[in-house]
Amino acid sequence: MEGCELTVEMGADGTTWPPGLGPPLVLAPEPARRAGRGRAALTAVAGILVIGSLGFAGISLTEGDGADSPEGAVEQLFDAIDDEDAIGVVEALEPSERRILMDALEQLQTEGERLGLTSSDLDLHDVAGVDLRVDGLELQTEELRDDVVAVEIVHGTIASSGDIDAFPLGPVVRGAMDRNDELEQLEGDDGGYAYEDGEFDLGMGIELDDEREDLAGGRLVAVRRDGGWHVSLLWSLAEGVRRDADDVDPLPPASEAIPARGASSAEDAVREAVRAATEVDVERLIELVDPDEGRVLHEYGPLLVDAADEASDGEPVGVDISELELASEPGPDGSVVVYPTALSLSWGDDDLTVTNTYRDGCSETTYEYSDDYLEEWGDDEYGPQATESYSSCSDDVFAPFGMLTTLTEPGSLRVVAVERDGAWYLQPARTVVESVLGPLRGLDRDQIEQASRMWSGEIWLSEPDEVWEACGVERPSLDTTVEESRDAFETCREQLPDDYEGPWGLWGGGFLWTDESDFEIVGEGIDDEAYPGVECYRSEFDDDAEGGDATPGERTLGCLQDLADSGEVEQVEVDRYRCSMAYQEAFGEGAFDLTDEEWEQLSAEAEEAFDACLADLDGG
């Protein structure tokens, strides 16, 4: 091809073509057109999905909290109970109550785990071992206000059953239960200290098989918040109080609610509340309550003020506070916990003056009887003495009421205060939670283990050091086996000097040593010799007591009559016991199978028979 030069033109993609012809025409292949249609369809579908998703987002973001109606809120609550759905139960509640409950449950779970009372398996979302069933719920409503509706349960039942083995009990409780089983085996059928199987294994005497309760007559209050209806426990409680009054007043309109008026500091709020309480200034007390948590108190306030005025008749409650020193520390969610470091209060009447003094975590209560009272009721040995004192400390798990010291010691109260717009208010519900949890936080696992094991049968754990020192036996530790501990206790009881006068038994008062023993009680406690006839009453609970086919009551009556015949007890004691048998005869052995109505009816009949019998005695 000499002298002939071939030239080509080249496109950007490398395609070549002869000069002057232009690039070749490329026709779109058929499959590509189909793909284009498919893509268009996909785009359309995706577009529709986007629009649908926009709707979903809108609904989700504007969806209100709560049910559509008051009945809906109550049904939601019972549905959640039926499902054992703790989250659902909390969701059905009024928002501010949810917060209180959630905080309380979380703190209880933390403390429970720390002390070994609950296992780490305890999940507040699903309490294992519990089965609840709600059936046949029928509701009717009564509007108290447009945002407050009472929902009455017309018909419905709740059944519960449980499996202790599946309960999320902690190692301390499980350990106590296991040792109780061991103790029972050691004791055999002779009784002894171990509680009988099934009754006190948990220290609670709870029967767990298919308990069915009638819900009819129950009344819950639903409140509307931000458009949604919620069940309110606090409003239900307040409504119960309102309806229990002799003259039931209507719920005041919201405009008549007592306004919130706080104090200048958390401690001032507590001081003002104490003053208001002692002066029965209920209005001031309510003013000091947090308007968020205590809204119900503000709104029911006018009724409460009237009720208090009527009850007190303008008189102060008669409590004199001579000393009140407060301290405070930060609480949860920006709150402040105020607690007394020293407190001295007294109250009483002409016959008795009670003084309670709290300092350094210990409380002492003194009862002082008047001379007139002692002259009438006093007894040299066992009646009230001129002055009686009891003391307990917040870390004493064997003190009366054990860990719930707040019930007996005002000094262990821990008040929660919160600041709102520069003023300080009190939070009553959180105060209750904090006052229960406060003493728990001061305990350690050994103390809880000691208490759990004592209450499940190892009664020697409650013996004070004085007993062990006096008997010369080394006190068994928590690690000592059940058999060795029991043997040590037996030895101690045998070796304890007859003239021992120190404290012994639970609370130092000999509360639990009630089994047969040759140990003569000299100190406080139940003394057979000092109380003639006590062995007769004891035989009532002794399944092995002699007496043929006689009922326990008849055995006791026969025993008392024998003592009366021999002049050891007065005949009137026998007669009074005979009158009291009206109760035994009325209930028989099937008392636990009775319905509430049957129980009340039998009680009323027995009381009537008892009173008539006593009247006959008095007449005689």
């Binding site: 986007v50 659902g88 969701e91």
Partner: protein
């Protein structure tokens, strides 16, 4: 092929959010139910609570937007949106699966789907990166 895999995973990811994620007693909650309950029970601080509520309410929207982006051949955008879906869904699923007693099948499945979504989204982005380099 990767685009189809991404599209399929996005659809599965959204569908699994409506499956049971949490067992509470005999009740079952979807992922949206879990977020709603957490919001009502104030489990999180106010800021994160609002953020999680918005993120979950818009999760199907983000996923469908990713599908739309794929349909329009915006593969990079689709992969980025898919990663967001995987992050939101995977975080909650991972948190729940740490408590096996309450985590239900939906949470476990979603965790696996979220992981696959991350892998495929990453593959799409890498593939797209190679394309750019080749073109340049």
């Amino acid at each position: 092929m990767l685009s189809w895999a991404l599209a399929a995973l996005l659809v599965v990811a959204v569908l699994t959010t409506f499956a049971p994620w949490l067992r509470t007693g005999e009740a079952r909650r979807s992922a949206h139910g879990v977020v709603r309950a957490a919001d009502r029970l104030e489990v999180l601080e106010p800021g994160p609570r609002v953020a999680s509520r918005v993120a979950w309410a818009t999760l199907p929207l983000v996923a469908s937007s990713a599908l739309l982006a794929l349909a329009l051949d915006r593969r990079g955008l689709a992969a980025a949106l898919a990663l967001w879906v995987a992050l939101i869904e995977g975080t909650l699923a991972y948190a729940l699966t740490q408590v096996p007693e309450v985590a239900d099948g939906g949470a476990r499945t979603s965790l696996a789907v979220a992981a696959m979504l991350v892998a495929v989204s990453a593959a799409v982005l890498i593939d797209r990166g190679h394309g750019w380099r080749a073109a340049s």
